[in-house]
Amino acid sequence: MSVIEQPIIEAKSLTMRYPGGVTALSDLELSVQPGITGLVGANGAGKSTLIKILLGLITPSSGQVRVLGLDAQEQGPEIRARVGYMPEHDCLPADVSATEFVTHLGRMSGLPPTAAKEQAAEALRHVGLHEERYRQIGTFSTGMKQRVKLAQALVGNPGLLLLDEPTNGLDPSGRDAMLALIRRIGSEFGIAVVVASHLLSEIERICDHLVAIDGGKLLRAASLDSMTQALPWLAIEVDEGSEPLRARLEGAGLTVSLQGRALLVRLDGDPVFDTVRDTIADLDLPLTRLEHRRHHVEELFERRELDEPTEAKL
């Protein structure tokens, strides 16, 4: 904890105004630490502009960015040699084998021929495509294609991976596998990862930190733990008899409200647990859930505050 690590990405009062008058980023302050960072933001919040600036492809109107300790404006090519980028959209040719494609892009990242071959084989092994590496990419499933995209980002041995919607188009099992892989890259491989995603549940699952931008400004930057803190509400679900339960709990002096199929009980202290347990035991109800309500990252984007539970419409 005492080691002060240099931030992977550091942006100071970053502003990007396009010639058309559109301001994509305005005075953005950003510091990304090693580990896995989730990048969330509304569409048009400046996410793709930020990626382009980080890769040194466009020059910001004002402000400074350092990526891996390099200046994004001065040292774009150096940064691009050390940053792996996985775009959101399809970007793979159909009629080339995975090995050949990843090797070629390893060369494009500046690896010598032999190293590119070795690293491509390694990258494909790590993403789980070892057996299929000689197959044409066109014959791959969506999940395998996403893995090839990840492998090409990984092949140049980056210090930082920028992943743009890595689970796009994947079905649930494909998503699980991809998220597990990203988690492994971030923790075992020691590569800093920035994951841009619209799916907040994914961010909650794999990220250590979260950066939310909105309207080109930093909305929130925090560790995930601090954003999913427990709330003083206990959610109770019973398969039947939730009305009598609610009446009895209220009778016992607890604050209760109904949200969906759950009863929310205000948790004022440990005795509440026992009251709840005893009430359910007395009523002989099937208890299927007893859970702390937590903050969700989603609340960042909700218009109404969820601090106080509201009566659901249904």
Partner: protein, 370 residues
Amino acid sequence: MSTPTTSVIHDIGYKPYTGPRLGRGQILRALYVHGLRAVFGFGRGPKAKIVPWFVTLVMVIPAALNVYASSENKPLILDYSLMGVRMMLFTVLLVAVSAPELVTRDLRHHTLPLYFSRPLRRGDYPLAKLLALFTGVLAVTLLPVLITYLGQVASSTSGHMIWLDTRAAFPGLFVSVLQSAVLSVLALLLAASTSRRVIATGLIAIFFLVTLAISQVMANALGTSWKTHQESCVVPALDPNAPNLSGNLFGVGGGVNGPPDFVINQYCQGVNAREYGIDNVTGVKDPNKPGYADITVTYETPVYSAIAKAGGLANPVYVVEGLRIWVFNATDSDLPNPSPLGPLYGAEAALIVLGGSAGLFLRYRKVSVS
């Protein structure tokens, strides 16, 4: 404490690469080599090799015939300087297949962001592709010139002959280089305008064929008219005793019922029969000169209008050809000498190469990364 053991679990986990990283120049070279290989279908399936190797083979055929002709001390079957124009359809076929291979696939599959998020700069990608295609086409067009030259040199008997051949081969080299440049630039520019390979191939083929047709129509059907000449002169009669000279009285058929062209050329000043052929000859015995005949020769010579001289400008390959005729003052071509429009040909060739390259670079400035 612990004894050395032969059992060990090796770490096959992620191992960061710590070796050297190449700079931009070497990455550019890698992309160039990759592209050059793609022109000839290396690193691709067998289908990708069909056209490039077929074209290469076809280009070698006239060269092989030339070598045979050299060894027999006969004139070349296809002169150096004419290879470019005569084999045009095959070089167009090559670029129509190779240029889409080089750039259209990357557009189709949106692979470009993967390049641009790497150390290369924007202009490096089109530069490498352009150089690769140029090199490929140059190799294929230069090959027959080179083979023919070596064949000629091998059958030469003196240093002077070698020198003459080197001079004769120079326009061939000129055409190869310029034609490769013009074809590569235009084909890549067209190929980069679409993301569908078949359309790109079609576009390139149509572009060159349609412009070729326009060139030919302008140079021939529309731009060239024929002027009829009638000239009288005296030639030796092969059969002085023949009663009627307007028959086949000169013995050897040349023109229509007349003396052979070379006889006419030899005796009649100003009649260029060798080049244009004689349409008609009539004549009578020369009363003053026994054994000779007075003949009237009718023949046509072409008159090139400005349309005909400008015709070559419509097709890029003809631009190069016109430039060659003008620069080397050649007379062996299908096209008329463009003089005084020669500078226009030069300007257009330069415009195609420079403007086309600039267009290609601009095209890739606009590609988005994310």
